[in-house]
């Protein structure tokens, strides 16, 4: 492990943690513009985080240690993911710690903890949210794995670094399997990040909420950490999508000359991804909760088809 690579790793982790709320703000602003509303400031998520961090935490009387412990685990998981995914540089020292399968596992750990914490208080809403989260998660997780296997088949490796390198430096070829995987990935992203067709992050309507129901009992710094973690999660998902489907311009770790360009490319791609996400959210309607399994099953099916197609086209 070189010092340059290590510095690069540190830089990226800080960058992701600090930039994640900005991406959230950008998506919210785009959505407001598309809905003909005046947009909140791009810095609004930072203001919310600051306000929450200054408040005193209120805990339910029967909250156990798990309830207080969970926000830190969730934040830690998401930050770890942010350290593994190549955002501006590939071949990060941390990337060796986890391949894409472990990455899915890290997401699963966060999901388990947030669901346990939601059930810990014993309110109806928390349990309801946890059950819905598990319903969606249990179906989205295999879909995400299969999507990653699509890349693994092409690059012969489950390590994100190798995947990015193979895809960024290949000669031009049309991969039908990747097109299928891309559509499936967008669907999983929407389901996992509680975006509009699956869940509406802007409301607390008890019939439909999933993510908001999970964190209803949290306040102050705990809530701040969870909100921040979900911003990082959205950022990490966008970064994974970019790294897999549009990996051009990602620098090698330790290559400081290529870094400015890589940062510019990453910012541009994230802005496009955020605007695209906001557009998708603006044009689609929130679906019934019982339609969600069908939605995620479709993502799974698409990813599976991609996998099968890559076998057929090999002969």
């Amino acid at each position: 492990m070189t010092l340059g690579g290590f510095l690069n790793q540190l830089l990226q982790m800080l960058l992701v943690a600090l930039a994640a709320p900005l991406l959230m703000g950008w998506v919210n602003a785009c959505r407001a513009w598309l809905q003909n509303k005046s947009a909140p400031s791009l810095l609004q998520p930072y203001r919310v985080l600051r306000k929450l961090l200054h408040k005193d935490a209120a805990l339910a009387e029967n909250a156990s240690w798990l309830f207080r412990f969970a926000p830190y685990v969730i934040f830690g998981c998401m930050w770890l993911v942010a350290g593994i995914v190549p955002v501006v540089a590939s071949e990060l020292p941390f990337a060796a710690a986890a391949d894409v399968i472990a990455l899915v596992g890290v997401f699963a750990v966060a999901r388990v903890f947030i669901s346990l914490a939601a059930m810990d208080i014993g309110t109806a809403f928390g349990t309801l949210g946890a059950r819905r989260e598990m319903l969606i998660g249990a179906l989205a997780e295999p879909a995400l794995l299969i999507i990653f296997f699509n890349f693994a088949l092409i690059s012969q490796s489950t390590s994100l670094t190798t995947i990015v390198d193979t895809l960024a430096h290949r000669e031009f070829a049309l991969y039908p399997s990747l097109a299928f995987a891309a559509v499936a990935f967008v669907m999983v992203l929407l389901a996992e990040n509680a975006r509009v067709p699956v869940d509406n992050p802007a409301t607390h309507l008890e019939l439909t909420m999933v993510h908001e129901a999970l964190i209803l009992e949290y306040s102050a710094r705990h809530l701040a950490l969870i909100e921040w973690a979900s911003a990082i999660k959205l950022f990490a998902y966008c970064a994974i999508g970019i790294a897999c489907f549009a990996p051009w311009g990602i620098a090698q770790a330790g290559d400081w000359n290529a870094l400015p360009l890589a940062v510019l490319a990453a910012v541009a791609k994230l802005m496009i991804a955020g605007a695209g996400l906001a557009t998708l959210e603006a044009v689609s309607a929130k679906m019934r909760i019982f339609r969600v399994p069908e939605f995620v099953a479709t993502a799974f099916m698409l990813a599976m088809l991609g996998l099968l197609l890559s076998y057929v086209f090999e002969v």
Binding site: A173, L174, P176, S177, A179, F180, P293, E294, A297, T298, M301, L302, M304, L305, L308, L309, Y311, V312, F313, E314, V315
Partner: protein, 218 residues
């Protein structure tokens, strides 16, 4: 692999995707639109094969596909459902996620079945044979899982799309005489099904195919 081969592969993948979309579609109008799109993709792929291999007669069958499956049949079907005034959602016998899982199993079966043929073939379209067979099987599954007569007929027509695609990918199309014959059959079939729908509704007051079980002679 040359670009045309890759394009054919992509179009084949889109064919399969549309077959799955039809399998999971609940609305009759969207089902007909999907059928028309499948025709467009089929025609595009036929034209590319014709251009790459220099098989002139494939141009004719491509034009036939556009005329019949993109324009004529969807138009007839649109007219029919307006006349019959059926806009309601399609009912399926098995729920849609299960249907899709069965569909994936069928795709695996078809791919396995076609693999030995694909390995021996030297045509540019050899890898799409499995997809064509999967399309046929998926349309068949759609015919079985739908209750109403109109989706069943659309499934039948989509199956013909799959067969045509299989012929293109295995042997660069069928002889012209056969192709014309099939085209005529499908067109006449479309008209006959139209009359058939009205008869079914006259007799049973519904287009539900389950009622036809009453026709049994005990």
């Amino acid at each position: 692999m040359p670009l045309s081969g890759q394009l054919i592969n992509v179009l084949a993948a889109v064919m399969l995707l549309i077959a799955f979309a039809m399998l999971s579609q609940r609305r009759i109008l969207s089902l007909i639109e999907l059928f028309a799109w499948q025709g467009v993709v089929l025609a595009a792929s036929t034209f590319i094969v014709a251009y790459t291999t220099g098989q002139g007669h494939l141009y004719i069958s491509g034009v036939l596909t556009v005329a019949l499956k993109v324009v004529a049949l969807p138009w007839i079907l649109f007219r029919l459902i307006h006349r019959l005034n059926i806009r309601w959602d399609v009912e399926t016998l098995i729920n849609i996620p299960t249907t899709m899982l069965i569909g994936i199993a069928l795709v695996i079966f078809a791919f396995n079945l076609a693999q030995p043929i694909s390995q021996m073939a030297s045509t540019i379209t050899r890898s799409t044979l499995g997809i064509a067979m999967a399309c046929v099987l998926l349309s068949f599954l759609m015919m079985m899982t739908r209750r109403k007569a109109v989706p069943v007929v659309i499934g039948f027509l989509a199956m013909e799309n799959g067969l045509f695609f299989a012929a293109t990918s295995a042997t660069y199309g069928m002889p012209m005489v056969v192709e014309f014959g099939i085209a005529l059959d499908v067109l006449v079939g479309g008209f006959i099904f139209g009359i058939f729908f009205f008869q079914v509704r006259e007799t049973f007051d519904s287009l539900d195919t389950r009622h036809m079980e009453k026709l049994r002679e005990d």
